[in-house]
């Protein structure tokens, strides 16, 4: 009955649980509510551990029926719980100071999820084992469910948990009224098209627009009648209104148009989504589900049990029906002629673009800042992908070109040795001491930078690309491990040089380069995170386009060829030296582009921002997302940079998670979460097009 490996596998989970217990994860998140008055993050992690034990145990005996699975799950969960109970007994028996001396992060057991509210160790231990058996049994049961149900269940629980954990940061993004209005519009448009059985573009677009206009009127009237403008009128249009009024157009009319436009947009998306490829189709549904969930969250102060249930239902339904809908939508999409598909895709991209453009006022500065950080890493990731994903070269000194870009742009735009030698490096400390306050105060006026950001940016990109190539020259013959460690050396050397007193006049030593002016557009300063956002967005979009184009070009093929087999690539007439140098150059240029933006958005550069960790972060996100693909970089950056930034409580564990993720990804899924799909080139050939047109 009990599988051969059940106990062993559960014991592995138990060992991990011991480590987690002594890292204090079962206590230290005791105040972080996932669901108010019901479930803390510590409890979540505790139950997740037991559940994992149950699943691992139940999976050790696949194909032997429900009863065996549940039984093994119970045994596994109970074993993990028993191991944790031993931890409780140990902590209870040993003086606390002794434990604390060794495990410096450990806190007293009171309030820990391990005590389950008990005051004494023994009852808590018994309770633990019982809970372990129950949770393990549930795990064993779930493990026997059909895979699709399992996925839906896990997805839904994960969605609720993520919203619960992030609630502090995301609870003001969209009001319930707005969320309802948007998602209903989408939903109605989608259903209308399905019900009426439309297929042609014109019909789709008309339906979408019609539903949009109708719901705009409906919600507009409803809002004004119930007097709930603040809640139900789209906040975005409210925020846009004062600006649009300044335009030399009739203000009221325009703001009405914008208000209606949002509805029309989502109506269009809903209509078009019925005939779109899988990812584009699903994105719409998930976006609506998330919007709705955020709206629900915004309707109360904190996520409590009823709200959590509502959100659970929203996601549960979405995850349950979307795959089915998706299959049909994709089937219709595939059957369409090429031009029609293109139109649908364009509509989708316009919707996405509009959402991206209007989203900052909703997010607020903090989320925008997080998003900016994510985008910096996307830019770097896109660049590193050229190296590791396409050319197969591992560069652990990737941060060097990031720093070079940042410093080049910084030195060119800020008051520096270039414009007033002898003033800047002394202004900070010495002149202040002697009372020369004016030098410091008016430094930017007295001694402006050499050029504006827009002039310095291309130079920074060029310089970092060029230095990247130059650093590539000596390591041209090195591969794999050796290349990694030599580039690591480059990164460290550069950081030492930036910090060192020897080069202080130029690089500012440990004080870095300060007073970097923000980029300006005409009179507008791109100073706030919600404004710099647009700059980042532009760069990310351009970067993605450039890399995608390069990847499918002659050069991109050459890179991938030399990744797969350098000798053969050379025998095919590829000048591998040139190709590699270009890989170094292109990836460094990307990194430098991000670096220049990084410095400008911080308005100052400090050498301790450019450590090996940056390279490791970029590497991790590229690996996790999937080497050689652009979407993978986006996913990787969101998961590895965005999440920890929002989940500040868990930030201490970020690097640990990176390390584990790197190993697990390599062991289980070396291609990453979103591996690149081989291109369907034959469809683009003239012969194929002619054949398709002939149909």
């Amino acid at each position: 009955m009990i599988g051969k490996n059940t106990l062993r596998n559960a014991a592995y989970v138990g060992v991990v649980a011991i480590l987690l217990a002594f890292m204090d994860v079962y206590s230290s998140f005791g105040e972080k509510d996932v669901i108010a008055d019901f479930f803390t993050l510590s409890q979540l992690l505790f139950y997740a551990t037991l559940f994992t034990g149950g699943v691992v145990a139940a999976r050790s005996v696949t194909g032997r029926g429900l009863g065996v699975s549940v039984l093994n799950g119970m045994v596994g969960g109970a074993l993990v719980a028993a191991i944790l109970a031993l931890v409780v007994a140990f902590v209870d028996a040993v003086p606390f100071e002794g434990i604390r001396f060794v495990f410096a992060n450990f806190s007293p057991l009171e309030g820990s999820a391990l005590m389950q509210g008990q005051a004494d160790a023994l009852p808590a231990m018994i309770l633990l084992v019982v809970i372990g058996a129950v949770v393990g049994g549930i795990a064993g049961f779930i493990a026997q469910l059909p895979l699709r149900i399992q996925n839906t269940l896990f997805g839904t629980v994960a969605a609720v948990v993520i919203i619960g954990v992030l609630q502090g940061q995301i609870n003001r993004i969209v009001t319930l009224g707005d969320a309802l209005a948007i998602s209903l519009t989408f939903f109605v448009a989608y259903m209308a098209v399905k019900a009426l059985g439309f297929k042609s573009n014109l019909e789709l677009l008309l339906t979408g627009a019609g539903v949009g206009v109708a719901s705009a009127i409906l919600f507009g009237v409803a809002a004004s009648m119930t007097g709930m403008e603040r809640d139900t009128l789209l906040r975005g249009s409210q925020q846009l209104e004062p600006i649009l009024l300044m335009l030399p157009v009739v203000g009221d009319l325009l703001s009405l148009l914008v208000f209606g436009g949002v509805f029309v947009l989502f109506g269009l998306y809903g209509a078009v989504a019925t005939t779109l490829g899988r990812q584009m189709h699903d994105a719409g549904w998930y976006f609506m589900a998330v919007t709705l969930a955020l709206g629900v969250l915004a309707s109360a102060r904190a996520l409590d049990v009823p709200l959590a249930l509502v959100i659970f239902v929203i996601f549960g339904l979405t995850f349950a029906i979307v795959p089915t809908l998706s299959v049909r939508a994709t089937a219709i999409y595939e059957s369409l002629p090429r031009p029609a598909r293109t139109v649908n895709r364009r509509v989708f991209f316009v919707v996405v673009l509009v959402i991206l453009l209007v989203v900052p006022p909703f997010m607020g500065a903090s989320l925008a800042n997080t998003l900016n950080l994510v985008m910096i890493y996307i830019i770097m990731g896109v660049g590193m992908n050229v190296m590791i994903g396409y050319a197969g070269l591992l560069d652990l000194g990737y941060v060097a070109s990031f720093a070079i870009g940042a410093y080049t742009a910084g030195i060119l735009t800020a008051p520096s040795i270039l414009t007033c030698p002898g003033v800047v490096d002394q202004a900070d400390a010495f002149n202040l001491l002697r009372g020369y306050e004016d030098t410091v105060l008016g430094l930017q006026q007295v001694c402006p930078g050499l050029m504006t950001f827009w002039q310095a940016w291309p130079i920074a990109i060029f310089v970092s690309g060029l230095t990247g190539m130059m650093l590539g020259v000596p390591v041209m013959r090195l591969r794999g491990d050796y290349l990694a460690i030599v580039t690591l050396g480059f990164g460290e050397i550069l950081q030492r040089i930036l910090i060192s007193s020897t080069f202080k006049p130029l690089f500012g030593g440990p004080q870095g380069v300060g007073r970097i002016p923000v980029p300006t557009l005409g009179d507008i300063e791109l100073a706030r995170s919600t404004e710099v956002y647009y700059l980042f967005l532009l760069v990310v979009a351009l970067g993605a386009v450039v890399v995608l184009r390069l990847a499918s070009s002659r050069l991109g093929r050459a890179w991938r060829a030399l990744r797969d087999d350098e000798d053969v690539a050379e025998a095919m007439g590829i000048n591998t030296t040139v190709a590699k140098l270009l890989a170094f150059g292109v990836s460094s240029a990307f990194s430098g582009m991000g670096g220049a933006l990084f410095g400008a958005s911080l308005q100052g550069i400090f050498p301790n921002s450019f450590t090996l960790l940056v390279s490791i972060n970029v590497l991790s996100l590229v690996i996790l997302g999937g080497m050689g693909g652009i979407p993978g970089v986006f996913i990787g950056a969101f998961v590895l940079v965005g999440m920890p930034e929002i989940l500040r409580e868990l930030r201490d564990y970020r690097l640990l998670a990176f390390g584990v993720l790197l190993v697990v990804t390599m062991l289980m899924r070396p291609d990453g979460l979103l591996p690149p799909q081989p291109p369907k080139l034959s469809e683009q050939s003239t012969a194929h097009k002619q054949a398709a047109a002939g149909d």
Binding site: N105, P474, I485, G489, R496, T502, L655, L656, T665
Partner: protein
Amino acid sequence: MVQTTSRSSFLRLGKDPIQTFLYLAGGALLLYVLVVALGNVAAGRYGLRDFLQGIVLGLAQGSIYALIALGYTLVYGVLRMINFAHSEVFMAGAYIGFFAINAFSQTPESGGPSFLEQNTVLALLLTIIVGMTASSIIAVLLERIAYRPLRRAPRLVSLITAIGVSITLQQLFLRLFGGGTRSYPVVNLCFEPLQVPDQVDRVCGTAMNLLQGRYRLPIGEQEIIVRPLYFIVFAIALVLMTTMWFIVQRTKVGKAMRAVAEDKNTASLMGINVDRIIVVTFLLGATLAGAAAVMFAVYNPQVTPFMGFFPGVKAFTAAVLGGIGNIPGAMAGGLLLGIIESAAPGMLGIPSQLEDVVAFSVLVLIMIFRPSGIFGEALTKSRA
């Protein structure tokens, strides 16, 4: 019609302009370094005393590099992979060793001297053994969990795994034991047979304090400062390395290791348990790293979860310097690097802030100009 046949022998000029450029640049750099160094010596800014002091200081540090380097070299020789996590294996030895020596240094409840004070040599030996054991366990575990499943995977995959393992171990120790710096207790060891009457030690009087004593040694009109500890570290390292060399060269296991290094498939056909030999390889390297770690922590009594990084990279440099896969090379490379590091900044007149730059530059230059190291890379003699 037939062109000359000897055209490409010298630096393969013409065929590879990059190589030519590199050699010219490297030559220029070497020349510059020589000129600066000679200039400093000629101007009296750097003399024999400074050089000798540099050697003495580099000795202990270099021995430790050499011990760690052996771990890199052994694994590379057998598996052709750089075990990036070796620096963390080193760190683990120092950490667990800290808990041991800290336990030994507790004053018993009955009062009186602690075990460490009473049986200093035994306590230190035990600490070293604890450190060696801890390192070995970690290394064997990570071979089993992370490296073995990937033995046939592409190099990039195992390389990234190794980096991941390194981060994981570092962060695991950080989260388990906290980020605070911990300090090995100060240990004095008086050696009565050696009397230094003119330089009295605070603890040992005229007897030589082997671990904490500092003694002035006249060099001409100047003097250098020497700690017996430097030589003890060097001696222990030498014994350990010789043992290792003996194991690899003379024992059955060593022969099997060399066979596996040569050709895994053939070795397994010969009845060698390749998996077991690879475990042994990791184990041997880790044992040395554990010993090095405890000595390092007695010498620089401070442990943190991040302490492995610098010694790790430098030991790797040492391994490459001596020719990776080459055991005597690793020893020589370690000592050489230790000495270069402590002597070069003074000799070249650069601030010691850039000391690490010197080490990293050595790494980069060796990689570029002589990737097979000074003594050539080989665990076994013949390799195509």
